[in-house]
């Protein structure tokens, strides 16, 4: 009972990022993630589907006007944009 009053609560987690999904669309997303995130107003990049169900690269934007700076497709995959604004911790 009194063995752990000074226990450390902070426990870092550093997983091997190769545990992330490895399908072709995920590879494309991972390859282009940095350059997309470097665009001012891009809040995130992900993998989902477009409106007709094809695999797609998702790009989360701070505002609608940034859409013009995002390519329509990347390495053959369609790009879908979503306006999230700044993503806040809830």
């Amino acid at each position: 009972m009194n063995d752990f009053p000074n226990e450390e609560a902070a426990m870092p987690y550093s997983p091997d990022s190769s545990t992330e999904s490895s399908s072709p669309v995920h590879h494309v997303k991972q390859r282009h993630e940095q350059e997309l995130m470097a665009i001012d107003g891009v809040e995130g990049v992900g993998v989902g589907r477009n409106s007709i169900g094809d695999d797609a690269i998702l790009v989360y934007l701070r505002s609608d006007d940034i859409k013009a700076r995002i390519p329509r497709s990347i390495d053959g995959y369609p790009v879908e944009t979503k306006v999230t604004g700044i993503i806040d911790a809830l």
Partner: protein, 413 residues
């Protein structure tokens, strides 16, 4: 119950027996340390000076405002009757005739006479009224003639003055006024309700968990976010966690349910990757329960979720129960999002996140829902994610498998 004495109570617990209580030494430390400045609540003025001035001013007095003394007295008598009735109702389910007679009244107030159709969705049945005249407002579940309501108030409630002809009454149909139990204190506390480290505002209890190895495999723990239970890296082992969270009125130690046990630090270094925003609070077993809660017809209903995680896939239907938006349904639209998340001005990069859109254009989450567990919208309700962020109608969640690995826990559901 035994709020002041955290040591008592847990041992004889049937369903959640076998768990160890948080250590007494740490608890004592916490109890003796009243919360200092509440970082999460900065920017709010202290109650006091501003109000004190107003209260001292004679024209703020209710009677000199011109409130009719008879109406005020009747209102106060009905109010005390309602408070007594509320105390009795809380003890058990509502009876079938709960809304008949005086039970029809769900609220009381003072207003001015209302024209018959002034309130959309409500019907007003007035007596002895003329425009601008003061009146007693009775809020009721079902439409009832005003003379009948007067009789109920006079007889069932014993407020005979209400029957007098010179007490004008508005009968306003509101139906059952839905409370927000997700923000209230509940014991034992289920998943889906307000919780927080004593220095934050409020988040949500995701569900319960247990450590995978000794000594943590004898600890029953609430699962939520680091920014809910550990004040964004600032918390230390033993810190008080209260239910409801401080912004919902929770105080330490009176409302304490757990102590901070473990958290995964959020790395704000540019370029550093985070995968989870999660923490555990070591509970007194008798203060929590494994079910989640949602509201049906104004009353809390409890339900269980699965304990074995399932990997998210795009288009999976999911649900969550949270402190702010309560029970909601949504669809997973992304299973590998890399996002920048704003923690009150500090930015952190998160990788391999789930994103969710509310079903049918609804909102899946809002501020205060952080920490909610996200589960498959089917009978198995298998855990998928831990809600932590959002923007403009899109919600982001950690993958639950990573959360369990990072905290070295299993779910207790």
């Amino acid at each position: 119950m035994d709020k002041q004495n955290p040591k008592k109570g847990a041992k004889e617990q049937g369903e959640q027996g076998g768990y160890q209580e948080p250590p007494a030494e740490v608890v004592r430390k916490v109890v003796e340390e009243p919360h200092e400045e509440e970082a999460g609540l900065q920017g709010f003025s202290e109650p006091g000076q501003d109000f004190a001035e107003e209260a001292a001013a004679p024209e703020m007095d209710a009677t000199s405002f011109g409130v009719d003394q008879n109406i005020l007295e009747v209102k106060q008598q009905i109010e005390s009757q309602l408070m007594q009735a509320a105390g009795q109702q809380a003890a058990g389910p509502l009876a079938v005739d709960a809304f008949q007679g005086a039970g029809n009244i769900v609220g009381v107030g003072i207003g001015v006479s209302l024209p018959p159709t002034s309130t959309p969705g409500s019907e007003v049945v007035s007596s002895g009224l003329y425009p601008g005249k003061q009146a007693l407002n009775l809020y009721v579940v079902e439409r009832t003639p005003v003379e009948e309501m007067k009789a109920h108030v006079a007889q069932s409630m014993g407020v005979s003055a209400a029957a007098a002809d010179d007490i004008p009454i508005n009968v306003i149909v509101t139906g059952v006024i839905e409370a927000q139990p997700h923000r209230f204190r509940m014991r034992p506390a289920p998943g889906g309700v307000s919780v927080g480290h004593f220095k934050i505002t409020a988040g949500t209890i995701g569900c319960l968990s247990v450590g995978r190895t000794a000594p943590r495999n004898s600890r029953l723990m609430v699962l939520s976010n680091n920014h809910v239970l550990a004040n964004v890296n600032a918390g230390t082992f033993g810190d008080c966690i209260c239910q409801p969270g401080p912004i919902d009125g929770g105080r330490c130690p009176a409302d304490q349910i757990a102590i901070l046990e473990r958290f995964v630090p959020i790395n704000f270094t540019a370029g550093a990757a985070n995968f989870v925003d999660c923490a555990t609070g070591w509970c007194w077993p008798d203060r929590v329960r494994r079910e989640l809660v949602h509201i049906v017809g104004g009353a809390p209903q409890f339900f269980r979720i699965g304990s074995v995680p399932v990997a998210p896939v795009v288009n999976m239907a999911v649900g969550k129960s949270g402190r702010t938006t309560q029970l909601t349904r949504g669809t997973i639209i992304d299973v590998n999002a890399t996002i920048t998340v704003n923690y009150s001005g500090r930015l952190a990069l998160f990788r391999d996140q789930i994103s969710i859109r509310g079903a049918g254009g609804t909102v899946f989450s809002a501020g205060g829902d952080s920490g909610s567990s996200i589960w498959t919208w089917d009978a198995s309700r298998r855990p998928v994610g831990l809600l932590f962020a959002g923007g403009n109608g899109i919600t982001f969640a950690n993958k639950i498998g990573r959360v369990l690995a990072a905290l070295d826990i299993n779910l207790v559901t």
